[in-house]
């Protein structure tokens, strides 16, 4: 049963990943990418890692894809098609992809993977205490660093969106 679902998801992900890069309509390739991400979420559900599956759905499917769709909606007209890349670029990209696949495969096959008999579900509480833990293996420092970076990005976005109104010269125009 799990095997069948795994293969359905795997085939779905591969097919949609290929169509995502070959489709010449911009929004369609975004949607194919969405299906790939949903497939990844399905794999996470399959291995009982519900939290990561939901994160995958919220952050990637619900967040990033929506943002990409937004930008496509703003710049792209329905009749436009993406240009075909030059042959030399296609060849370079293909070689780059093959090198990437080679690195992945050698890494995967150079380590033995054991099937764990009795897996236990990771709960949200465990993830949370690990994420904010300052003991051994805790992630409090990267967590804080990332939150500061995000805060900086947020303030930067606000300043950019405010535009000229913040400068001293045209203060009267506010």
């Amino acid at each position: 049963m799990e095997k069948i679902i795994f293969y359905i998801l795997a085939v779905m992900m591969i097919v949609f990943a290929i169509t995502a890069v070959t489709s010449r309509k911009m929004l369609r390739s975004v949607i194919y990418l969405l299906f790939v991400l949903c497939g990844v979420a399905g794999i996470f559900f399959l291995i009982d890692y519900n939290f990561l599956a939901a994160i995958q759905l919220t952050v990637y499917a619900g967040g990033i894809i929506v943002l990409i769709i937004f930008s496509v909606l703003l710049v792209h007209h329905i009749e436009l098609k993406l240009d075909m890349a030059k042959p030399i670029r296609q060849i370079i990209t293909a070689i780059g992809c093959l090198i990437g696949i080679g690195v992945f495969l050698t890494t995967i096959y150079s380590y033995p993977f054991k099937v764990v008999e009795n897996s236990n579900i990771t709960t949200t509480a465990q993830i949370g205490s690990k994420l904010l833990g300052y003991g051994e293996g805790g992630f409090i420092l990267p967590f804080e660093v990332i939150s500061v970076v995000l805060l900086a990005a947020m303030i930067g976005a606000i300043v950019i969106a405010k535009g000229k109104k913040l400068s001293d010269k045209n203060e009267e125009t506010i």
Partner: protein, 352 residues
């Protein structure tokens, strides 16, 4: 394509919950849920029309069947038999895909609700988070539908809907998170268990819980794109908004999804704030099957509340909508979470 995704998801969901069930049983349960909620959605449409009539001192549909009970059934039959039209230069694939996004995400959320102690299709350990995750995908269907229609009104409607849903999702998530602080678990069955021992969460959390509930209802109404937040399909400005070009069954999917989403918002509120299937003061605790009645009764009261909003408040402008979310609801919510954390930390919750 989407049906495969849908069915595979349903299979995954059901297998992890109950290993012993066969595929046939899983499919039957899924089919039962789908049929029940499709019909329930139709009756919600009828309820909406009757409530609207009541608020406007009219009679409303009362000719088809007893008190118009079969009116929406007849409408649905009519919609099924109608021709499916579309614009010539539309992106056909995405145009046809969009309604399924909306309806499938709406139906997937229904799997996790505890309608009674026994009736819960999928008791996942991240319950609430799963609901938020799934409902965040629904907006993609609206964006796609609006863009692929090749119609500027539809596109404007879709853009508005995207802005609105992304903004208000934050408030929905944060107000639910406020209540999670009391329960300490995202699993819906455990949330109900906490309430069975110590009273409904809206009483346990008293002041911050009531604020969270109010924020949740406002944000929830906005997330379902209903009036007073229905800029997405503001008739006077945009025709029918993102579903202007849809007809027949595809239009019905959007329509049904809107009403099922309303029921979902009410059901989440019922589960998190009002004790799901628990009876008030435990009066019918000895009769477990009455849980379904209590759940649906509470959900219906909240649905009625949302209809009340719709027919009372005038529509907001876009800037007012965004001001309400980013300048009022979000800061209130963040402060509210801190207050709730303090209350839980100092053990100031009310327990019966």
């Amino acid at each position: 394509m989407t049906s495969i995704i849908n069915s595979s998801y349903f299979l995954i969901l059901s297998t992890t919950a109950k290993e012993s069930l066969s595929i046939l049983e899983i499919l039957l349960i899924a089919l039962g849920y789908l049929t029940f909620f499709a019909v329930a959605g139709l009756f919600l449409v009828l309820l909406e029309r009757r409530v609207a009539a009541w608020f406007q001192l009219r009679i409303g549909p009362n000719r088809v069947g007893y008190q118009g009970l079969l009116q929406t059934m007849a409408d649905a039959l009519k919609l099924v038999s109608k021709e499916l039209t579309g614009t010539i230069k539309a992106d056909k694939l995405l145009y046809n895909l969009a309604p399924y996004f909306v309806i499938i995400t709406a139906l997937m959320s229904l799997a996790v609700f505890p309608f009674s102690k026994q009736i819960q299709a999928f008791d996942i350990n991240i319950g609430i988070f799963f609901l938020i995750a799934v409902s965040s995908i629904g907006v993609i269907g609206i964006l796609l539908g609006g863009w692929a229609s090749n119609n500027k009104f539809a596109l404007i409607g879709a853009m508005r809907s995207g802005v609105q849903t992304i903004s208000y999702e934050l408030s929905v998530g944060l107000s639910l998170l406020t209540m999670i602080l009391i329960t300490g678990s995202l699993q819906l069955s455990e949330i109900v268990e906490v309430q069975r021992q110590g009273g409904w969460l809206i009483l346990q959390g008293h002041i911050p819980a009531i604020i969270a509930f109010m924020v949740y209802m406002i944000a929830g109404t906005a997330e379902t794109n209903r009036a007073p937040f229905d800029l997405v399909e503001a008739e006077s400005e945009l025709g029918a908004g993102f579903h202007t070009e849809y007809s027949g069954m595809k239009f019905a999917y959007f329509f049904l999804a809107e009403f099922i989403n309303m029921f979902i918002i009410a059901s989440i509120a019922t589960t998190v704030f009002f004790g799901a299937w628990l009876s008030p003061f435990g009066i019918t605790e000895s009769i477990p099957w009455l849980g379904v009645f209590w759940f649906l009764a509470k959900a219906m009261v909240l649905v009625f509340l949302m209809m009340w909003f719709r027919w009372t408040f005038p529509r907001l402008r876009v800037d007012q909508l965004l001001t309400l979310e980013w300048k009022y609801l979000l800061p209130i919510n963040l402060v509210n979470i801190v207050i709730m954390a303090l209350i839980v930390w100092l053990n100031l919750t009310i327990k019966f």
